[in-house]
């Protein structure tokens, strides 16, 4: 397989998906309902990215309380609730994760 052809194809695929609706010639008008639905996209994205990292191990469901990803995630939620500091929460929970894993 030609790697350079592949990387070009991948770059084009990713770019098109990111650019698609930024194109003004695409005839589309967003109504209030669509905008309301889209307002949920950021929390949905964040949850969908971390869900499998936290709750699965090598493709298997893992809700074992000793799962370090699960423990670290719970700690991060608690820290964020109490401190309200993004950077502090991220760093402390990363350090704790490295220590318990």
């Amino acid at each position: 397989m030609n790697f350079w052809l592949l990387i070009t194809g991948m770059a084009v695929a990713v770019f098109i998906s990111r650019y698609l609706f930024l194109e003004p010639r695409l005839p589309l008008k967003l109504n209030d309902k669509a905008l309301r639905i889209l307002s949920y996209s950021a929390p949905a994205v964040l949850a969908a990215v971390i869900g499998p990292l936290v709750f699965t191990t090598e493709g298997q469901l893992n809700t074992d309380p000793a799962n370090p990803y699960l423990l670290g995630a719970v700690l991060a939620v608690i820290l964020m609730k109490f401190t309200g500091n993004t950077l502090l929460t991220a760093i402390i929970s990363m350090v704790v994760f490295m220590l318990i894993r």
Binding site: M10, Y19, V49, A90, M94
Partner: protein, 227 residues
């Protein structure tokens, strides 16, 4: 001129928590590329041109496993399709800009840049978005480079749980976003669907989970208003 510089810097500073999170992730991609036998140059080129962490990781794995051109490209399309939602959400703000701006911001439109524009409370500013997107692009490529170098020197660098950085930071950004029961419903549904799809090894799981979460949030919102 002065306000351009100010906006570029403000965008960069607001992006710092997300940059901190992406460093271990970039290191992981760099180290994995070297470990899989793809080589330093090609691994770095992926970060420079494709600029999409999950797609890169999966592609490297598939190349190593000997997968074909078409199957890698289709997988990339499935993983990357969620970005269409971001371009839709930012459409009204960016479609009015000239082509070079649309192209630049489109290329830089990662999960992280999108999330940053959503949690920022000031009106959309192109220079602010460029500062945030560009600093993130540079951080992604430098961390890939660090991973390439460190991965050649330290064996098993890909096994030490670098991906937890994404979990920690995304949670820190997500928690303050949950301000209503409809957003909470969206988060729970999105998580549940993404976990289910991961156990079924579905490459389109990310998009399905996001769509399900958004619809669940909207349904909760309308149901509460009807009461």
């Amino acid at each position: 001129m002065r306000s351009i510089k100010k906006e570029l810097i403000r965008g960069t500073i607001d992006m710092i928590p997300l940059i901190v999170a992406v460093i271990p992730w970039g290191v992981l991609v760099g180290a994995y590329g070297v470990e899989s036998g793809l080589g330093a140059f090609k691994t770095q080129m992926l970060s420079l041109t494709v600029f999409a962490g999950t797609s890169q990781l999966v592609a490297i794995g598939m190349i190593q496993a000997g997968a074909g051109f078409i199957s890698i490209l289709v997988t990339t399309l499935l993983i990357t399709s969620r970005h269409v939602l971001y371009s839709l959400a930012l459409r009204d703000k960016i479609k009015v800009l000239p082509l070079h701006w649309r192209t630049a911001l489109g290329f830089l439109l990662t999960d992280e840049l999108f999330v940053n524009t959503q949690r920022e409370d000031q009106p959309f500013n192109r220079w602010y978005a460029l500062g945030a997107g560009l600093s993130f692009y540079i951080a992604w490529n430098l961390s890939t480079l660090i991973g390439i170098i460190a991965g050649s020197a330290i064996p098993d660098l890909t096994q030490i749980g670098l991906d937890f950085a994404v979990v920690a930071t995304f949670i820190a950004i997500l928690v303050p976003m949950v301000k209503s029961s409809s957003i909470l419903t969206c988060v729970i549904v999105s998580t549940a669907v993404s976990v289910f799809c991961a156990t079924q090894n579905m490459q389109s799981g990310l998009l399905l989970a996001i769509a399900a979460g958004m619809l669940a949030g909207y349904t909760t919102y309308t149901a509460r208003r009807l009461k």
